[in-house]
Symmetry: C2
Subunit: 99 residues, 2 copies
């Protein structure tokens, strides 16, 4: 890989995407969204047992940094992984922290 051909803006964008993922709740969210699953804000906030607004906040961060996409359907908004390969990051880091 050519990380060091990365200019500061690219490093910044990569860091921002990782920073978006680097939070316990947000890692858990990504865990629920593997294999192309789509979930609503309410579903996630009930699964994680955290406030609706907090959930929305986390989802907004993940969307803003390019980790998730969303699609409104009626009253619900479904969130899902923008790049399915992003599951690998969570996979890799959980494996590395197990040992």
């Amino acid at each position: 890989m050519k990380v060091n051909e990365l200019n500061p803006e690219k490093l910044e964008r990569a860091a921002n995407m990782l920073k978006a993922i680097a939070h316990p709740m947000r890692i858990a969210i990504l865990g629920y969204l593997e294999d192309g699953k789509k979930l609503t804000v309410t579903e996630i906030h009930e699964l994680l047992n955290i406030e609706q607004s907090t959930t929305s906040h986390h989802l907004g961060i993940l969307k803003d940094k390019g980790v998730l996409s969303s699609k409104r359907e009626g009253k619900n908004t479904y969130y899902f992984l923008r790049h399915c390969s992003l599951s690998n990051i969570v996979d890799c880091v959980t494996k590395c922290t197990m040992g």
Copy 2:
């Protein structure tokens, strides 16, 4: 993957490891350490053109969170990836942020 069998402590550890990586300078550091390369603090601080103390700080964070290991040899301390698979994270996130 079984992210959601992860208990809060494991999520926390995974998040901390990602948080350690999620910084432009620290991503650049990991870029220099791919393929098992080992570099000293001074080499890194010169490569990145940042303060020695700042460099040491960043390396300390990466080591503390389990991303890097270090080995002292004489006056120098060499830093290197603890799990070579961690390069994949940087790889994946840089690819995802390119598009």
